[in-house]
Every structure is written in structure tokens, then in C-alpha cells.
């Protein structure tokens, strides 16, 4: 168990090139599981390589257990890593691949033997131990790469998309295995993934990156419920959050936005969304962020008013049914219960809790929090039909 801290880390691949990592600040406690997410090319692998010591950093400091290790060679950092490209030794058998790190650290042969057997059992690769990497499928290679890291008991594990090549079933199994293993070993872990569920279920902390900058760092719940900007909000969650453009209007000193659906009777086709008495919002273009699961079918007795909209597309996914409607000329995804099977072209009465929607600045994508000062139940009362 070890703490990991990155202080103002910068990385540039060459003097002429732009910085790949910009002022990275991260700190995780001993035994925590950090998830790194971000679009392709944002610098996740670079950050992992910097932590491992395979790339030198051009500024800042990396601390393990409070000690600066920025200048230390990789093998002295006591870190094990699973590479995105597997990086299996092609001329060695699977068994030798897993045992190599243990041999280098001069473990007694009997112990190596036992460790390889344990890892092979865990990853279901016992039948492959005698093969060379070239004779394995991508998923099998990936599991061997995992095994090579897991055979050691380092201070920190670095996993660079370790499950990306597995089939859906194995992936879920391995995800649970990793979680179990982490709960048992409590080794500090940094884990890169593109998978939403992995990000939400495995991590104690999530860091969302874009263009070498950490956009937000927090618990999965914070990232999900309270994203710092539109990028984070769009990146986490599947299907992604709906973003509906709004123009802020003012009446009686109160700001509100209007949602139009162009369906049903005039009274039912639009609604007004109260934004409170924030004068700074007046006349601005905003983006309204609503998660698909926040939109529900209007229940007759509910306190929330409803909005009628025409169904454009229906996608039954199994656990739920995705329905797409148009609001303010934007396609909006609603995640409904699987027993809801509306017909395309029919009208639905939808509702959502205005207290839980998010507001973003239309140009910068920054989160706006005008309603903070106001009581939530007050807002519900103000949400009224147009």
C-alpha cells in the first residue's frame, strides 16, 4: 500500500512540441483505485509512463509515500504495469513471460512456480502456459499481460486499458475479479479505461482528462452528479447526457428557460424552466444538461408538471427502452422502463425534476450554478406550464 501524489506534473515530448501533460495535480490515498478516462490521444498512456518512470517529466514532482521518485529508475519504483499493447516477450512461453519479473527479482524457484500457477488460475490461462504469445488471441495475450503484472506485489499497479480486447462476458468476469482482488490486496492502482461501467464501478476516484489537462478529479458520484463542465458531463454516462440549448428570459425578476417540443396542443407542447433570480443570466445562451434517466413518463399524480413530445425513434436495449424526442430542435434521449413501448409518431407526456438538471455556458462549456442559493422544493413549485 502506498500513496501516490502528482504535483504540477508537465510532460513534453520535445522542445518544439506542445506539452502533452499540463500541470497535472492528483493525489490518491494508500489502497485507492484511480480511474483515468479521456478521449484518445489526451495523454493517459503518457501519464502512466511518467508514473512508471519510462518517460521523464519536464516539470513537477511524482511522490510515492511522500518521497519524490521523479528521478528514480523504473525498476526501483516498485511499480507493475499492464501495457496497452501487451508487450509480451515473443520468444518466451506464457509461463516464462509471467515468471520473468519474479526471476529478475531473484525469488526462489518454488515460489515463482507457485505464483505463476496462482495467477494462471485466476486469469484462466492455465492451458496456455506452454505457448508463445504469437500463438494466442488478442484477448488471451491481454490476460497474460495482466498475469505478468499480477504475479508481482508492487507498491502500485498501473493498468492501461487491460480489458479492452476481451469479449463482453469475460470482460464482466475480469472486472469483478479485479475488484475482488483489489479489495483483498488493497494495492494502490491507476487504471485507464474507455468503459463507462469500469470507470463507475471500479474506481474510488476518477480523473477525467482532455488535451493533457485534468478536467475534474473526484469520486465517481461527484463526477456523475456534479460534473465541472460540459465535457465531463458528456464523457461520463451512457447513453450520454442530453444537452438542450436555451435562451434565458426574464419575467417578474425571475429567470426562466423555455422548452419546446412542437407536438400536441400549444399548452402541453412547451414548458418553462425556472432558473431563479440570477440577474447575470439574463439574455444569455445556456445549455441545459439532462441525463436520459432523469426523464420519465409523466405519472398522473406526480407533483412535477409534464411536457408532451412526439416519439421519433425507439431503441429497446433490454434493461430499458431508449426513446428519442425533439426539444428545442435537439434530439433528446429518454431512458424509460423496458415495459414502455411507445409507437413511433405517438405522443408521450414526459417529466423531469428541474432541481436536478445542470446548466452550462453555451460558449465555454463551463458549469453554471445560479440556483445554488435557492431552496429546491421552491423550484419545483415554480416549474409551471407555459
Amino acid at each position: 500500500m502506498a500513496t501516490l501524489e502528482l504535483r504540477n506534473v508537465n510532460k513534453s515530448y520535445g522542445s518544439g512540441l506542445a506539452d502533452t501533460l499540463k500541470n497535472i495535480e492528483l493525489a490518491i490515498d494508500a489502497g485507492e483505485f484511480l480511474i483515468l478516462v479521456g478521449p484518445s490521444g489526451c495523454g493517459k498512456s503518457t501519464l502512466m509512463n511518467c508514473i512508471a518512470g519510462l518517460e521523464s517529466i519536464s516539470g513537477g514532482a511524482i511522490l510515492i509515500d511522500g518521497a519524490d521518485i521523479s528521478g528514480m529508475s523504473p525498476k526501483d519504483r516498485d511499480i507493475a504495469m499492464v501495457f496497452q499493447s501487451y508487450a509480451l516477450y515473443p520468444t518466451m512461453t506464457v509461463k516464462d513471460n509471467i515468471a520473468f519479473g519474479l526471476k529478475m527479482r531473484k525469488l526462489p524457484p518454488a515460489e515463482i512456480e507457485a505464483e505463476v500457477a496462482r495467477v494462471a488460475k485466476l486469469l484462466q490461462i492455465e492451458h496456455l502456459l506452454g505457448r508463445k504469445p504469437g500463438q494466442l488471441s488478442g484477448g488471451q495475450q491481454q490476460r497474460v499481460a495482466m498475469g505478468r503484472a499480477l504475479a508481482r506485489r508492487p507498491k502500485i499497479y498501473l493498468f492501461d486499458e487491460p480489458l479492452s480486447n476481451l469479449d463482453a462476458k469475460l470482460r464482466v468476469e475480469m472486472r469483478t475479479e479485479i475488484k475482488l482482488m483489489h479489495q483483498r490486496l488493497k494495492t494502490t492502482t491507476v487504471y485507464v479505461t474507455h468503459d463507462q461501467i469500469e470507470a463507475m464501478t471500479l474506481g474510488d476516484k476518477v480523473a477525467v482528462m482532455k488535451d493533457g489537462i485534468i478536467q475534474q478529479f473526484g469520486t465517481p458520484q461527484e463526477i456523475y452528479n456534479d460534473p465541472a463542465n460540459q465535457f465531463v458531463a458528456s464523457f461520463i454516462g451512457s447513453p450520454p447526457m442530453n444537452f438542450i440549448p436555451l435562451r434565458v428570459q426574464v419575467r417578474d425578476g425571475q429567470c426562466f428557460g423555455r422548452l419546446d417540443s412542437a407536438a400536441g396542443a400549444p399548452g402541453q407542447a412547451c414548458c418553462e424552466l425556472p432558473l431563479g433570480a440570477a440577474a447575470e443570466l439574463e439574455g444569455r445562451e445556456l445549455i441545459l444538461g439532462v441525463r436520459p434517466e432523469q426523464i420519465q413518463l409523466a405519472a398522473a399524480a406526480a407533483a412535477l408538471p409534464s411536457l408532451r413530445a412526439e416519439v421519433e425513434v425507439v431503441e429497446p436495449t433490454g434493461p430499458d427502452t431508449l426513446v428519442f424526442v425533439s426539444l428545442n430542435q435537439t434530439k433528446v434521449c429518454c431512458r424509460l422502463a423496458p415495459d414502455a413501448t411507445p409507437q413511433v409518431g405517438s405522443s408521450l407526456d414526459l417529466q423531469f425534476d428541474p432541481a436536478r438538471v445542470l446548466l452550462f455556458d453555451a460558449s465555454s462549456g463551463e458549469r453554471l450554478r445560479p440556483g445554488k442559493r435557492q431552496a429546491t422544493d421552491n423550484k419545483v413549485a415554480q416549474f409551471k406550464l407555459g
Binding site: 509512463n49 512508471a52 519510462l54 529508475s73 523504473p74 525498476k75 511499480i79 507493475a80 504495469m81 501495457f83 496497452q84 499493447s85 501487451y86 508487450a87 509480451l88 516477450y89 515473443p90 520468444t91 518466451m92 520473468f100 519479473g101 529478475m104 527479482r105 504469445p133 504469437g134 495475450q141 505478468r148
Partner: protein, 301 residues
């Protein structure tokens, strides 16, 4: 040669099974172009093989036989007297060549592999420039380095020794072997070296345990190239060695150019064959490994 063309005709017959007219016509077109290809190949073979045949035939003839018959005639009596005399003349120098070539080939290949490993996997500031300058060595004509090399050998006290000649061959060959290995290693994913570093392996362990075992094909290329170059070298041999340390190429030249007595063509031919056999052998033996290495060394990303 006749048997080859008979085989050729037979194989073209096989290409013409009874069938549809159109298919038959296409087949005939195919077999015609095949015939042309084979004819060209056979011709090229002949051009290269006839001199060898002449040498072989002549080396087994008696001097009288050579004077009376033509070049391609079968010997009246097969005699190995030419080979025995040739071995007496150049046999000692044959071993000189072995003593020069084997260490020089092994050392230059090993150093080239190390150089290539560093240049591909452990880039340092200016390593590209270093590699560029090293490449320059591939284009240096032999003659240019004669004087500096003999001066250096003299300073080192290695003039006219086998060790000195080995040193010259190693230095001259390094540019080529480094180029081979460096270009081979840049195609190997760097992540392999990184994984090994995290596993705790050091510079030489990574080289010996991970990269060298993957390098069989390029090692074969380097060995064949260096062996051919060094065994066949004449200029360095004649300049940097004298008397008892001369390689076989120089000895062969001396043997053929002796002006005393009658020309013994059978001895000349046999000596030339002796001088040329090792390179032939290396191609036949290592060429096979070379192909095997190429197919077995296929590595997935």
C-alpha cells in the same frame, strides 16, 4: 541441361488437361509465359554455372589433357593431383583465413547488435547524428582507409599480424552490422523494453534475454554478409598481412601469378575452388536458417 528441358516439357503438358476450349486457350497462354520464364532462368543459370563447370572439369584433368582438349571436355582420366598440389600450396593460408574470418565475423556481428540495440532502444542526445555518421562508413571506399589503418596498426604494434587484420575487418564491418541491427530493432515495439525495465531487467539482460532471441533472422543476414566480405577480401589482406599471416585470397593470387615453371591450370582451378568453397557452404547452410528465422520470428504487435 537436357533433362531439365524434358522436365519442363512434361510440366507444361500437365498444365494442359483436356477441358473447355476457352480454359484450354487460357492454359496455353499461361504455359507459354511460364515457358518463357523458365527459359530465361535456365539461360541465366547456364551463364553463371558454365564457368564453375569449366573450373571443376579442369581441376580434375592432367596438364597434358588440358593442353589437348577443349574447355568443356570431360577429363580423359580423373585425377586429384591438382587438388593435392593446390592444398599443399594454399592449405596453410586457408587456415589463416579461417583464423581471421571467424573472430572478425563474430565480433563485428556482436558489436553491431549492441550498437543497433542502443541506437534503436536507448536513444540519447545526438544518437541520430551518430547513426548518420556511422552510415557514412558504409560508403567509404576500401582504399581511403588503407593509410590511416596501417598507421594505427603500426602504433598498436599489430602490423602484419592476424589480430591486426581482424581489427581492421571488425572496424570496417561495424558500419554495416550496426545498420542491419538498428533497422531491425526499430521495428520492434519499444514497449517490450519498457516492460522488461519494469520487470527489473537491466541493459544487458534485456539485450541477452529478450532482443537477441528475437534477432535470429538478422543475425543470419549479418553473418552471411560479413563472412562473404571478409573471406573474399583481398586488399586488406595484401596490405595488412605479410608472409605467413596472409589470407587465402592473397595466397591464391601468388600461386596463380608465379612465373616459374609451366602453368598448372588444374592446380590453379583447384586452389580457386578451395578458396571459394567456404562462402558457398555458408550460403547453403545459413541460407536455410535465414529463411527459417524469417518465418519463425513473426511477432505480433
Amino acid at each position: 541441361m537436357t533433362s531439365v528441358s524434358v522436365a519442363q516439357r512434361r510440366s507444361s503438358d500437365v498444365l494442359l488437361p483436356p477441358g473447355e476450349g476457352g480454359a484450354k486457350r487460357r492454359m496455353r497462354a499461361v504455359s507459354l509465359s511460364r515457358l518463357a520464364i523458365h527459359a530465361t532462368l535456365i539461360l541465366a543459370c547456364a551463364v553463371y554455372l558454365v564457368p564453375l563447370l569449366v573450373m571443376l572439369l579442369t581441376s580434375f584433368k592432367t596438364p597434358d589433357d588440358i593442353r589437348s582438349g577443349n574447355l568443356l571436355s570431360i577429363p580423359d582420366v580423373f585425377t586429384v593431383i591438382g587438388w593435392v598440389k593446390a592444398w599443399d600450396g594454399v592449405g596453410g593460408y586457408f587456415w589463416n583465413s579461417v583464423k581471421i574470418t571467424i573472430p572478425a565475423v563474430l565480433i563485428s556481428t556482436l558489436l553491431g547488435a549492441l550498437n543497433g540495440y542502443v541506437l534503436a532502444m536507448w536513444r540519447f542526445r545526438g544518437s541520430q547524428l551518430f547513426f548518420g555518421l556511422l552510415l557514412f562508413g558504409c560508403f567509404l571506399p576500401f582504399q581511403v582507409i588503407l593509410l590511416p589503418a596501417s598507421f594505427t596498426l603500426g602504433q598498436l604494434g599489430l602490423a602484419n599480424t592476424t589480430e591486426g587484420l581482424v581489427l581492421v575487418h571488425v572496424v570496417y564491418g561495424l558500419a554495416f552490422t550496426t545498420l542491419f541491427f538498428r533497422n531491425f530493432y526499430v521495428s520492434i515495439p519499444e514497449a517490450l523494453v519498457r516492460a522488461a525495465r519494469l520487470d527489473g531487467a537491466g541493459f544487458f539482460t534485456i539485450f541477452g534475454r529478450i532482443l537477441l532471441p528475437m534477432s535470429v533472422p538478422i543475425i543470419m543476414v549479418s553473418l552471411i554478409w560479413q563472412f562473404t566480405q571478409i573471406w573474399n577480401d583481398f586488399l586488406f589482406g595484401v596490405v595488412f598481412a605479410s608472409g605467413d599471416t596472409q589470407p587465402i585470397t592473397v595466397a591464391l593470387n601468388n600461386l596463380v601469378n608465379t612465373s616459374t615453371g609451366a602453368k598448372e591450370y588444374n592446380v590453379d582451378m583447384a586452389a580457386a575452388m578451395i578458396a571459394g568453397l567456404p562462402t558457398l557452404l555458408v550460403y547453403i547452410l545459413a541460407g536455410k536458417y535465414f529463411l527459417r528465422g524469417l518465418t519463425a520470428g513473426a511477432v505480433k504487435g
